[in-house]
Every structure is written in structure tokens, then in C-alpha cells.
């Protein structure tokens, strides 16, 4: 496994008159070449901020307050060493974005320009980043549509003439224009219905297999990640609570929040389970509590939760390789759960 994008201790804050909103707090996450990492969290948990912070796409009042993001691509290096995205110059950033790291933005409806034809939007992206001559650029654009299975006659369409699924495919085609190493997908299927969602995810996996890019897949739907991702990182209130392979997360969730999430969605097959859910709502990041941010909603909270330092420690549950599966909760340990302290 060779890492392609290494986020270490990244912190991002939003400056507001009422004080800093610490949206991402010391998050470390590694994306390996050709891997699908799922980043899961509810709205406001900082998952998009993490991705946009790591690619330096945030504008003030957002401020990166610490950490590093090392990119191990072939085409961009800093004198042989991996480039730190947080210290790249404007010119280097321009070379990095889209060619090395591409993003499929949330809600294709808003990300596409409604008054431009599909062809012109794709041309715009291709010419800005690849500097191809006119003919080649047009061929490239047509080829991109083939890649995502949209008929070429749709090049003349405006975004409103396409279905939601097609718009999302255009966004994916655009991201893949320059054979990137890393594709960040920010809720690419959230607004679509399940049948279209499955089509698009199947296509994403197929493209990943052919083109070999790594995917950081951001979503609030853990059930979808369990099927799609190799590894899953669970985020809550700007912190990572748990990382592990999807197998480990599904069979042997360590953190109470992950357990709650797994117990929140109704299943279609098998016997009807008792669904518990997670009572309460996420905390206010302007005024964070000391210790674990999930403690107020946690069924297993003890006074010691206020002193938890939120570093990820290995979890050695029955279905997990300890080096792979990390949790931020030192209270709920495999021993504790075996003693049936936990439900």
C-alpha cells in the first residue's frame, strides 16, 4: 500500500465575530493509491471542510490553523520529497488541482452553470487545465461523455435538459478529464433515488478499476459506504471518532457513535430489528465541551469522558486487525463490551 494523500493533524477553523468555530480538529487520514476511503458524518461534522481544507479550496473566514497535507503523486514533488499542499504556491496549486486531485462537487444541479451547454462547460475545464488545441479538446470532451455513458448528442444540452443522474455523470466526467490520481466525491449521489444511485456507484467503481484513481467518498450514509468503501473514517463534530476497514466497522464497530449510526437505518432484509437511533443533536462547535464531543448523546458516557483526548488508539475486537482499526473512545474497550457493560 502506498499512500497518495496523507493528511496529518489538520485543523480548520471558521473565524466569526463570536469566536472561532473549530470545524476540523487535528484530523489525520491517509488515502492509499487506488483505494476508496469513505468519510462519514452528519451535516456540520466537518467532513466537507476537511476535504476542501486539504485541497486548499476554502476561502476566508475559513482558516487552516495547523497540520500538513502531503501529496505523493508522480507528477508533483518538492525536490524528490512529497509536496505539502498547504505550502504550495499559487502556480503549483493550479497544476495540482484537477490534474492531480479532482473533486466531484455536491449537488450537480448547482455546480453546473445553467446557461452554458454541457459541451462548453466541459471544454472550459479541459482547456483551463490541459491547454489542448481546439480539435483535441473537442474530441477529449466527447470521449469523456462516452466514459460515463452519456450519448454524444447530449453535448448540446443545457443542464436543465438532463436528468439528475445525467448531471451527476457530467460532473464525474469533468472530474476525470485529466486522469487524476485522487478524486474527492462530496455526496455525489445524495439527491438521487436509489436505482440511479446504484447505477452511478457501479459506474464509479468501474471507472476506478480502469483508471486506477483513489477515491475519498464523502457521505452521511454509512450503509452505502459499508458496501462501497475499502476503509471508513467516521467523523463527528470536527473529530475523527473511528477508522477501520468497512468489514471491521460493520461487524465490530468500536465507537458508540458508530454503533448508534449502524443501529439507525432500517434494514430491508432479515428479521425486523429494534432500531434505537441516536437521541439529541450535534454540539455547537463555537463552544466545544472538553473531552469527547459525543459524550452528551452517548449512552455509555461516564465522567471520565470529559478528559478524553480524542487520539485514535488501536481497537482489538474479534473481527479487527488492531493496526487497522482505530477508535477515539478509551471508555468502551473490547474488554468492556465483552463484559456486557454495553448493550
Amino acid at each position: 500500500m502506498s499512500p497518495i494523500l496523507e493528511i496529518s493533524d489538520l485543523s480548520v477553523a471558521y473565524r466569526t465575530p463570536a469566536g472561532d468555530v473549530r470545524a476540523v480538529e487535528q484530523v489525520s487520514l491517509t488515502l492509499n493509491a487506488g483505494e476508496v476511503v469513505g468519510l462519514c458524518g452528519e451535516s456540520g461534522s466537518g467532513k466537507s471542510t476537511l476535504a476542501y481544507g486539504a485541497t486548499r479550496l476554502l476561502r476566508p473566514p475559513a482558516l487552516i490553523t495547523g497540520g500538513s497535507v502531503r501529496y505523493h503523486g508522480r507528477r508533483i514533488t518538492h525536490g524528490g520529497a512529497p509536496a505539502d499542499i498547504l505550502t504550495l504556491s499559487r502556480r503549483e496549486l493550479h497544476a495540482l488541482r484537477w490534474r492531480e486531485i479532482a473533486i466531484v462537487f455536491q449537488s450537480a444541479m448547482n455546480a453546473l452553470n445553467p446557461v452554458l451547454r454541457v459541451r462548453n462547460q466541459l471544454l472550459d475545464a479541459v482547456q483551463a487545465h490541459l491547454r489542448l488545441p481546439g480539435d483535441e479538446a473537442r474530441d477529449k470532451v466527447a470521449g469523456l461523455l462516452d466514459l460515463v455513458g452519456i450519448p454524444r448528442d447530449r453535448l448540446r444540452s443545457y443542464p436543465h435538459e438532463l436528468s439528475g443522474g445525467m448531471r451527476q455523470r457530467v460532473m464525474i466526467a469533468m472530474a476525470l478529464a485529466s486522469d487524476p490520481e485522487v478524486v474527492i466525491m462530496d455526496e455525489p449521489t445524495t439527491a438521487l433515488d436509489v436505482v440511479v444511485q446504484r447505477d452511478i456507484l457501479a459506474q464509479i467503481v468501474e471507472l476506478k478499476e480502469t483508471l486506477g484513481f483513489a477515491i475519498c467518498f464523502i457521505t452521511h450514509d454509512l450503509s452505502l459506504l459499508l458496501e462501497l468503501a475499502d476503509r471508513i473514517a467516521v467523523m463527528y463534530a470536527g473529530r475523527l471518532l473511528e477508522t477501520g476497514s468497512s468489514q471491521a466497522i460493520m461487524r465490530d464497530p468500536a465507537h458508540p457513535y458508530t454503533r448508534g449510526l449502524l443501529n439507525s437505518f432500517p434494514s430491508l432484509h432479515g428479521p425486523r430489528r429494534e432500531l434505537v437511533g441516536i437521541p439529541g443533536s450535534p454540539p455547537d462547535l463555537r463552544d466545544p465541551l472538553p473531552g469527547c464531543p459525543f459524550a452528551p448523546r452517548c449512552a455509555h458516557a461516564v465522567p471520565a469522558c470529559g478528559a478524553v483526548d480524542m487520539t485514535l488508539e488501536p481497537w482489538s475486537g474479534p473481527a479487527s486487525a488492531p493496526a487497522e482499526h482505530l477508535t477515539a473512545c478509551p471508555i468502551v474497550t473490547p474488554e468492556a463490551s465483552r463484559k456486557e457493560v454495553l448493550s
Binding site: G149, R231, S267, A319, S320
Partner: protein, 412 residues
């Protein structure tokens, strides 16, 4: 010229063949009503009939002179204290049905009865009386609340409009907030929508609907905009409200798994028609119609992951030594050949025939009517026998032998 295609997206823009379409649909129409009336709703055991829709149809005239049949021959009943789920993909006509019931759209054909009396809302006063009995909850709590008004204002208005006898409006508003568990109520009355979380906003929408003291609640995707961890609480709240206030509820969703847990009866819509209906558990566990089978196979379901694909502890992903690709989709396929996205409902015959793997000539010419399977279940398909045996052979996805293999490995 007829083009019974729902939604203005893919199919119609692609110039799907139009014309000469209605024959099959019209012929099947009368029988469909008959079968739909013969079905005993699984929701009926909960309470008395509150609202009855019979043969609802809605056509839209398109600019081109073509007609879009958004809803065709839809019949069902809503019962006090029961939840009926309307499931289907975007563009299947499910929201149009709710708008017809809410009186926001005029019927092309069909009748709606409320409490046994045919609905007539042509005068403004009649419409207002109707509204105080039938309320609508919108999908998006971020756009359905006015950002410049407080929660108190949002609730005080419907209280004054619909509860004419109420003396103390503030107390009524507080009672509403407590009903949707926004407590302490005093803390929420003065807040603006932007100060609330998504879940809290949707609770305000519920409270606003309840302010009219309705008997029927039409909930159009009430939880699909909310986070997964909040959804369950919200459905539990709705569940509690329908029991306590004995509301007749129509729950519109594209998430058939939530319908399994929350609804008494499930109606599956495709191309403006009900293609299958029956008790929620029955329909989700033994789907009869190929579209329902596809819908269920498409829903993300972690239980279907095979350990054969990725053994625990095996380092997944990564550079050189990569394990085989995860089985996504576990169903292995979609209802249409890859590379041909956006196939909409068919113009002639069964609307699903353009995507159905089991479609034969008859499916493309004649629109099937709902047939009774059991007293509580019905499905509209010419090939139900084939669909049933395919489903039996490879549950839950009849379309892919690959899926079956991984499932069996998973069990061994």
C-alpha cells in the same frame, strides 16, 4: 399525440417515441379500478376510512401539444391511525398524488372523498375547511420555513386561521411545540429558522401542519433531507403522533426500507401508476413486480456484503497487492444494459417495459391492470409468474446470478 412519460428529463428530452400510446392504458383502466377496489388495504385494520382516492388521474399539457400523464388511475384509501407509504423514484408521480389530495392540483379524472363525502373545494371557504382537515408536510425544512419569521409566527398563524375558538394563541403554540417535543417551548418560540438544526426545523413543519388539527397528514419525503442519525427519531415522532392523534398518514418516500418499518401498507408507483401494493412487510420481503424487485435490490444494504469479497483483517485497497474488487453493486447489475442511462417509462404498454429484464412483446403493447394476488395484495404485471420464480431463484435480485453466488458464500 400522447406521451405518457413522467418528468421532463431524460426520456422526453431524448425524443422518446411518442404517439399511438393510450390504447393499452385506456383499455386496462376500468379493470385497474376494479382490482384496486377489490384489494383490502392492510391499513384498514388500524381505524376507519378517512380519505378515499378513486381512479385519480392527472395530465399535464406540454408546450409541444403532447400530454404528460403524470398520474394514471391511482386508487387507495387512508385510514385513521394508519400509515400508507407511497414509494417510487423521482418522477414516478408520487408527489403529484399528494398534491392532488392536498387540493393543490386539479384532478383530470377521478374522485376524492373525505370522511365519506366527495371533496369539493371550488370555493375559497370550502378549500379552507378542507385544508384544516388535510395538511401537507414538505420535504425540505430549509426552504419551507420563512427565514424572516420566528417559529412562534409560523405556528401562531395557522392557529388563528384554523382554531378559531382558541383564546390564548401563545398557549396553543406552546402546546404544539411540546407535541413535537421541542421543549422547553418558550426557548423555541422566538427563534428563527436559521438558528435551528435540520431536525428541529422539520419538527416546526410538523407542528405547523398539526396546528390545523388535521385528520389527514400528507408527508412528502419528510425525512429524506435529514441526517441518518436524526431520521429514526423523526419517524418515531411521526409514528407517535399518528397513534396519539389518530392521523391518517400518507408517507411518500423513495426509501423502501423506511417504509418497511414505518408503514402499514406500501404502494409502489412507477410511471404514474401503482404497480404493486400490499402489507409493508409482505411487499418488501416478497416483492412481486419486477420494478419493486429492482428497487429493493438497489437499496444499499450492508447485510448483503459477502465476507468472501474482503476477508476481515486482510489489508484492503492499496497499491500493488490489491484484493479483488468489492462486489459493488452486490446486485451486479441494473435493469438496463450499461451505458444507456436515463431510460424513462415506456410510452406504450407497461411503463416499466422499457427497463424490465422480463419484458416480452405483450408488455410493450398492453398496459397490465392490477391483479389480486392475495386479498391484501395486488400487482400490475403480465409476467408475475416469471418474476416470482426469478425472485425465488435469486432473492432479492432476480437480475444477477453473481449476487446469488456471493450470498451463498456469505451464509456458508
Amino acid at each position: 399525440m400522447t406521451e405518457p412519460v413522467i418528468g421532463t428529463d431524460a426520456a422526453s428530452a431524448a425524443g422518446a417515441p411518442a404517439g399511438g400510446a393510450a390504447a393499452g392504458g385506456a383499455a386496462a383502466g376500468g379493470a385497474a379500478i376494479a382490482a384496486a377496489e377489490a384489494v383490502q388495504s392492510a391499513a384498514a385494520s388500524r381505524g376507519p376510512l378517512a380519505m378515499q382516492a378513486a381512479g385519480l388521474s392527472k395530465d399535464y399539457k406540454l408546450g409541444t401539444g403532447a400530454v404528460l400523464h403524470a398520474v394514471r388511475n391511482v386508487s387507495f384509501g387512508l385510514y385513521r391511525g394508519a400509515v400508507v407509504a407511497l414509494v417510487g423514484e423521482s418522477g414516478s408521480g408520487k408527489s403529484t398524488v399528494a398534491k392532488l389530495l392536498a387540493g393543490q392540483e386539479r384532478l383530470t379524472a377521478g374522485t376524492i372523498t373525505l370522511g365519506g363525502r366527495p371533496v369539493d373545494i371550488r370555493s375559497i371557504r370550502a378549500f379552507r375547511r378542507y385544508k384544516s382537515q388535510v395538511q401537507y408536510v414538505f420535504q425540505d425544512p430549509f426552504s419551507s420555513l420563512n427565514p424572516v419569521h420566528t417559529v412562534g409566527y409560523h405556528l401562531a398563524r395557522p392557529v388563528r386561521l384554523h382554531q378559531g375558538d382558541v383564546k390564548d394563541v401563545n398557549a396553543a403554540v406552546a402546546a404544539l411545540l411540546e407535541q413535537v417535543r421541542l421543549t422547553p417551548a418558550a426557548q423555541f418560540v422566538a427563534k428563527y429558522p436559521h438558528e435551528l438544526s435540520g431536525g428541529q426545523r422539520q419538527r416546526v413543519s410538523f407542528a405547523r401542519a398539526l396546528a390545523a388539527r388535521p385528520t389527514v397528514l400528507l408527508a412528502d419525503e419528510p425525512v429524506s433531507m435529514l441526517d441518518v442519525s436524526i431520521r429514526l427519531e423523526m419517524l418515531n415522532l411521526l409514528d407517535d403522533l399518528r397513534t396519539r392523534l389518530s392521523l391518517a398518514m400518507l408517507y411518500i418516500t423513495h426509501d423502501i426500507a423506511s417504509a418497511r418499518y414505518f408503514a402499514d401498507e406500501v404502494l409502489v408507483m412507477y410511471g404514474g401508476q401503482i404497480v404493486e401494493r400490499g402489507p409493508a412487510e409482505d411487499v418488501t420481503q416478497h416483492p412481486a413486480h419486477p420494478y419493486t424487485q429492482l428497487l429493493i435490490a438497489s437499496a444499499p444494504d450492508p447485510d448483503s456484503i459477502s465476507p468472501g469479497g474482503r476477508p476481515p483483517g486482510d489489508p484492503p485497497g492499496g497499491g500493488t497487492a490489491r484484493p479483488p474488487a468489492p462486489p459493488w453493486p452486490p446486485g451486479g447489475g441494473t435493469a438496463r444494459p450499461p451505458g444507456t442511462p436515463g431510460g424513462g417509462p415506456a410510452a406504450t404498454g407497461c411503463p416499466f417495459s422499457s427497463r424490465c429484464p422480463l419484458a416480452v412483446g405483450r408488455c410493450r403493447q398492453e398496459n397490465p391492470a392490477l391483479q389480486l394476488l392475495t386479498p391484501q395484495r395486488a400487482a400490475a404485471c403480465w409476467r408475475l409468474d416469471v418474476a416470482a420464480s426469478a425472485a425465488e431463484a435469486a432473492r432479492p435480485d432476480p437480475l444477477s446470478p453473481r449476487y446469488r453466488d456471493t450470498r451463498e458464500e456469505g451464509q456458508s
